[in-house]
């Protein structure tokens, strides 16, 4: 290695002028990204953000304290980066060694100088013209290990890019995009493997979670979210409906290194609304699955919405924490679900600890002691339509919540919206939409759709405070140890709130909503920065240097 570097310098002709002394003075590049760094999560020095949720627990809670409720109103923009592409950010940027690594819409990606917002390299994937990817040509971020970045693509590939140049190192095919498969989530890198899943629950896919060797791109294992013949749970699908039952995986999960378990929320069963063809619970759709990181074998599952008929994917972000409940130390996973319920589960075995609505739920008022929702009558979509709360987008969705281990509060952007759901019998045609219905937001003088940032106590499920928005927000969150929460409303405002009270401290009109994106925060040249993806822009904020 040493010899290679020396030769490189000699050949570069630079050493001719400057001599060997200078060679030693060049600042050593940082070592390659190690697994330990990812395990360590967000360090107090604020020097990095290396995985989707900041850490494997997905807490998105920064230990940084330079920015406080007292000084947050002094934030000023440092720079703005424009994508120059069609479509909006849904990404979580990564930061290392003062360089940002960012994925954008249409599988464009960048390395950006965090000091100035200037591009270092740009990658653009040539996408096939007949792409059928549902729900936006988006991407939710990079994973990283060694000298490689990992990115999923809209044509259902997993790419490894050279961190220094953006060049492709390897290109693995997940599935055939022509059959309705796509991939949009940020890869999770665990023990030398890159964990990814597929979207396409509206296209009759059979969902799966895959693990690929980070070095070579070879597949290590695959877990199908719909059990095949002979496997437990297969009999929860009538006929051959399991073959195109959906249950995609399009939001990054969590990982517990001690238990060596991955936690992923799964998508809706298909067809979404007309369910005569798929009688049964439809495992493991709308579930949280706990998967052995080494083998890909399922350890346990908890199904939030058995036999879902409202398109309530459980593709929200699972958040891990250790809590004391009734005097007992519990390893839990917290989950605010699209179906309107907040859940605290025991993450060692999947047993329900508590479940409570965090928005108005008309389809079920409670979860029974056996862990199943107690269904209310009259909430089955048909051709005439039926009104159910929450709506199709749900009580919350894929935008990340946060958890503050100091105050032991779970924060989530919630929506209070109801919808008229319709269903009709669909025909399956490979690669085409396969939903069997539709939903429409209910509007009228007595039904207002609002949103709110809610602080939930995960031990009781009670709401501690809320900050109400004019209309339902789809922004993700960031919280800090100094008692700040950054959020966005549905009207393009970036907001900073006091996480202990929910009081608004500061705002700025970004000109676009932070749809599905959370800010990240880090230290750069001694100042705490907040980086905000909104629409087609990334903006870095900091308090001016004295």
């Amino acid at each position: 290695m040493r010899a290679t570097i020396d030769r490189c310098l000699r050949i570069a002709g630079l050493a001719v002028l400057v001599g060997a002394a200078v060679v030693a003075a060049q600042q050593a590049p940082p070592a390659q990204v190690s697994e330990q760094e990812i395990l360590d999560g967000l360090k107090a020095d604020g020097s990095r953000w290396l995985t989707f949720g900041g850490d494997y627990a997905n807490q998105r809670h920064s230990p940084l304290t330079s920015l406080t409720p007292a000084n947050v109103n002094r934030l000023v923009p440092q720079w703005t980066f424009q994508t120059g592409t069609l479509g909006n950010f849904e990404t979580t940027p990564l930061l290392r060694d003062n360089v940002l690594y960012v994925t954008g819409p249409q599988n464009v990606a960048w390395a950006i100088d965090a000091r100035t917002g200037r591009q270092i390299w740009r990658y653009r994937r040539e996408l096939p013209p007949n792409l059928t990817a549902c729900c936006g040509l988006v991407n939710r971020g990079f994973g990283v290990l060694g000298d490689k970045l990992f990115m999923t693509t809209l044509d259902a590939h997993l790419l490894a890019l050279d961190m220094k140049t953006g060049a492709i190192a390897w290109d693995a095919t997940l599935e055939d995009y022509k059959r309705g498969y796509a991939s949009t989530l940020a890869p999770l890198v665990v023990k030398g493997k890159v964990i990814v899943g597929v979207a396409g629950g509206e296209y009759g896919i059979r969902g799966f979670l895959d693990a690929y060797d980070a070095q070579t791109g070879k597949r290590a294992w695959r877990f199908y979210t719909i059990p095949g013949p002979g496997e437990p749970g297969h009999n929860t699908w009538s006929g051959d409906s399991w073959q195109r039952g959906g249950a995609g995986l399009w939001v990054t999960g969590a990982y517990d290194p001690e238990l060596n378990l991955l936690y992923y929320g799964t998508g809706n069963p298909g067809p979404d609304y007309h369910s005569d063809s798929r009688e049964g619970d439809n495992l493991y759709s709308c579930s949280l699955v706990a998967i052995d990181a080494d083998t890909g074998k399922i350890r346990w599952h908890y199904q939030f919405t058995p036999h879902d008929i409202h398109d309530w994917d459980a593709t929200e972000v699972p958040v891990l924490a250790d809590l004391t409940i009734a005097g007992q130390a519990r390893k839990v996973v917290m989950f605010a679900n699209r179906n309107g319920f907040y859940y605290t589960l025991d993450r060692t075995n999947g047993k329900l600890i508590l479940a409570k609505p965090f928005v108005l739920t008309t389809w079920a008022k409670q979860i029974d002691s056996d862990g199943r929702p107690h269904l209310e009558p009259g909430h089955v979509p048909d051709e005439k339509g039926e009104i159910t709360c929450p709506d199709i987008t749900g009580g919350t969705n894929f935008w990340p919540p946060t958890y503050d281990p100091g105050s032991r509060l779970f924060f989530v952007n919630a929506r209070e919206v109801c919808a008229m759901f319709y269903a009709w019998k669909p025909d399956y045609k490979e690669g085409e939409r396969f939903t069997g219905g539709a939903a429409q937001r209910v509007t009228g003088s007595d039904t207002k759709a609002i949103g709110a940032l809610r602080a939930i106590d995960p031990v009781t499920g009670e709401r501690r405070w809320q900050f109400e928005y004019l209309s339902p927000s789809t922004a993700g969150l960031l919280s800090t140890a100094s008692g700040l929460i950054f959020s966005g409303d549905a009207d393009g405002n970036l907001l900073a709130l006091d996480s202990r009270s929910g009081k608004l401290l500061w705002r700025y009109q970004m000109g676009a909503t932070m749809h599905g994106t959370s800010p990240i925060t880090y230290m750069l040249d001694g100042r705490q920065h907040v980086l905000v993806p909104a629409g087609t822009t990334l903006t870095a904020w900091a308090i001016p240097a004295p």
Binding site: I11, T116, A169, W170
Partner: protein
């Protein structure tokens, strides 16, 4: 050279003369350029080529940051294939599609013009031993240049160089007869206020900052007002390999090796 091609193209003019617009509008690209040799089309194509293609391919089509395209016919490409390339672009490269707003007639006009710049097939038989060339490359070049995912990153990736550059262009670059560096590889020295100069290649720059890859491959941005100096270097980061460093036969060998590099397939075979 271009003149010779032009005269060679003249007989074909007679063949296609009189091809009407109705044919051009027909579905699917004809096998041969219906406008080849048409003086008006060549003139129109020259305008489009210079405005939209020459930045990368050079006014003489011999390649700047994009490939040398003067030899595409000599290498066996067909008119209809090239038409398709212009229509769709080249995946995973900087070569974009001409776009939907560019008409089929305009695409043929571009090709009619490029045809006038076309070089004949290589007169000399290929020479050199690619196997030894690869050894020479590994010993002298690979610490800065990457091929198929292996090697340094300070210089351009050469995995496609055989498709992108003609032989004489490759030779000129190696022996130091070619001037300048392509964007992204211009040499620069940044001197921090309290440190030794940092040498590298420039990835981006504006009035206030510069983004570089230094000679140890660290990518990093620097604010100019916080540096003692930021200076463009005159000498390319690539040293000349004259006859004192590379024998004629080693040069032939390494060029032969490079000519065989036609692209990197990163697809993982499961």
């Amino acid at each position: 050279m271009p003149r010779r091609s032009l005269t060679r193209a003249v007989p074909i003019v007679a063949v296609v003369f009189g091809v009407g617009a109705s044919l051009l509008a027909a579905q699917g690209a004809p096998a041969k350029n219906p406008l080849e040799g048409d003086p008006a089309a060549i003139k129109a194509g020259m305008g489009i080529f210079r405005a939209r293609c020459a930045d990368c391919h050079g006014v003489d089509a011999r390649g700047v940051r994009g490939p040398d395209i003067s030899r595409v016919w000599a290498e066996g490409r067909t008119d209809s294939g090239l038409f398709q390339t212009l229509r769709t672009g080249v995946p995973n490269t900087e070569m974009p599609s001409v776009g939907a707003r560019t008409s089929d007639v305009e695409v043929w006009q571009i090709l009619a013009y490029v045809r006038t710049l076309a070089a004949p097939g290589p007169a000399d038989p290929p020479r050199g031993n690619a196997e030894n060339g690869e050894r020479v490359f590994r010993a002298n070049c690979a610490s800065c240049h990457r091929v198929n995912g292996k090697g340094g990153r300070l210089g351009p990736d050469l995995s496609r160089i055989g498709a992108a550059r003609a032989r004489d262009a490759i030779v000129n670059r190696i022996v130091g007869a070619a001037e300048g560096s392509r964007p992204g590889y211009e040499p620069v020295t940044v001197t921090p206020p309290d440190g030794q100069p940092i040498h590298g290649v420039k990835k981006n720059e504006d009035l206030f900052s510069v983004q570089i890859m230094d000679s140890r491959e660290r990518i990093q941005g620097y604010e100019k007002d916080k540096m003692k100096a930021v200076q463009d270097d005159k000498k390319s980061a690539m040293p000349p390999f004259g006859s004192d460093r590379l024998s004629q036969s080693d040069l032939d060998d390494v060029v032969r090796y490079l000519q065989g590099l036609r692209g990197f397939d990163p697809a993982v075979k499961q």
